[in-house]
Symmetry: C2
Subunit: 344 residues, 2 copies
Amino acid sequence: MPELRYNRLNDTWVIISKERAKRPHDYPVNWRKEVGDIKKCPFEPGKENLTPPEVFAIRDEGTKPNTPGWKIRVIPNKFPALRPDEEFYRISEDIYDKMGGFGYHEVIIDTPDHYKHMQDFSIGELFLLLLTFRERMKQLYQNSNIYYVQIFKNHGREAGKSLYHSHSQLIALPRIPKRINTQINQCRHYYREKERCLLCDEVKYELDQQTRIVHDNNRFTVYAPFASAFPFEMKIVPKFHSHDYTKTTDEELNDLAEALWTAVRKLSMLFEDPPFNLILHTAPPVRDIPWDPNYFYNMDRLFHWYIEIFPRMAIHAGFELGTEFFINPTPPEEAARYLREKKI
Amino acid sequence: MPELRYNRLNDTWVIISKERAKRPHDYPVNWRKEVGDIKKCPFEPGKENLTPPEVFAIRDEGTKPNTPGWKIRVIPNKFPALRPDEEFYRISEDIYDKMGGFGYHEVIIDTPDHYKHMQDFSIGELFLLLLTFRERMKQLYQNSNIYYVQIFKNHGREAGKSLYHSHSQLIALPRIPKRINTQINQCRHYYREKERCLLCDEVKYELDQQTRIVHDNNRFTVYAPFASAFPFEMKIVPKFHSHDYTKTTDEELNDLAEALWTAVRKLSMLFEDPPFNLILHTAPPVRDIPWDPNYFYNMDRLFHWYIEIFPRMAIHAGFELGTEFFINPTPPEEAARYLREKKI
């Protein structure tokens, strides 16, 4: 019996289609791709000259920028979607509106190891990656024309990855993206009514229920959202209230790394390396929003940062693109049970 | 030089990334798939007993339902996302909200010919398909619990198609989808300001400019939208004002068929059968919207139906899913030029 479920945070509806119910064995397994040729890989240690100079790195003591000895390396994208040397402007083109393509588009090389992917990383390696996200985000927010930094990872061809060597990406935008705007509106609306944070309530409820919980540690919980748009979708949420990822402490990042390690390994082992996107949602930094002087009012209380993992085993087709409804053939309660029980 | 462009109708922003500019030869060509085995195909004439009984068909005179002799055949989906025998209800599940999975999910078998795809159809065949869309939509709107009928076509595996034999689909929903809601809001906002229809203005401007026009006939124009989210995206829009597809006349559908024939053939020949989604956007029928008694006020003047074609040659990855920003590596002006010049 199908059911329509409301995702309050995103203001979207999802069809949980039990009729088409898919269990893990109904999905393709073994997505593992042909290994990219290491000789042609521009992300290998020793080939730092093939990429633009690094803007941030975690390196062994005493090693110089743009030489080997790095654990994580952040570089400008060679084919950037946005550019820091573009002018920041807003202008009309007759009946249309546009802005200059100002911004940053960077690649975070997660590891020097050509053959290692996120599910192979240790908790310590994931900690360094999460720390890199935080530090580079902080640096980019120094620029007052940067309104939002979107950090994401595309894993596998079906999730949009084009280069084999494991990497994450960051795009720093000259405006707050629509999806974050929607989430802020929804959280504000909820707060106005309840005087409570939407995600705090959700986490508390999910921990009470347990049916959709995948994993739980000291500070973070991993669960399959009630209105999951993707089969085996997961949300990693701090159990303490926090609106801003840049304010996380190293201790918190350590627990986050453990939660992420568990989530990614479980997913990867259940389907033998399926494609997925990892997306970090956090509150934007305070900026001048001339059309809404109260945009940032109470932001620290109403927004709650989190990470989402979207496995890309089903394609969003004409219906999803046309309506913004999603069809999910695996109820999150079932997905959570399979993920929870998967030994890693 | 990249540029951010605003899509007013959808309230989204697109990065037109000229740095990564892709011309037709930068995309993979020859997407043509392995032909699905005709012996296993449940959509062949003579195998009508393998599908649920038809609910609509265009047939040769004197032939009986669920027997050969059909040109187009509409059947319930065997694995429906929504079901007409589900109850129509709205209910909460503690902190969450949900609705019964009531609705219709139907397959429109476009042609009895296993080997024919949309780009191979004649204008006459496309006319019958567009007429089927109109008639079945009208029939389903008899049911007052159906708030919207989304008609779409997934062509090619990358666009979400799972069965080889050419078909379209229809999902009749118990609520107005978010994207249509957004479009109505945006059109209303525009109308309030200008006392003009947004799409009427856009069509007029595009026809004046000519730079993004792909094709133009008596009643319809085909163009690459200013803020195209997908490379080689096209919009087919009536040049006369009309909010409701169910009210189109046969003469209008005939011109629409010519425009659609041209658009699909040009796209298909430019890339050798690329994957794409076709989506029909039209005003919802008048229903009781208890929380907004004026929802349908002026709808006939502010909304303008249209068809969009989304080629799926680029994958929407973590960035697009996270932000609802899109990155389009081919400026629509270039896409339109290639499409316009493509001989068919």
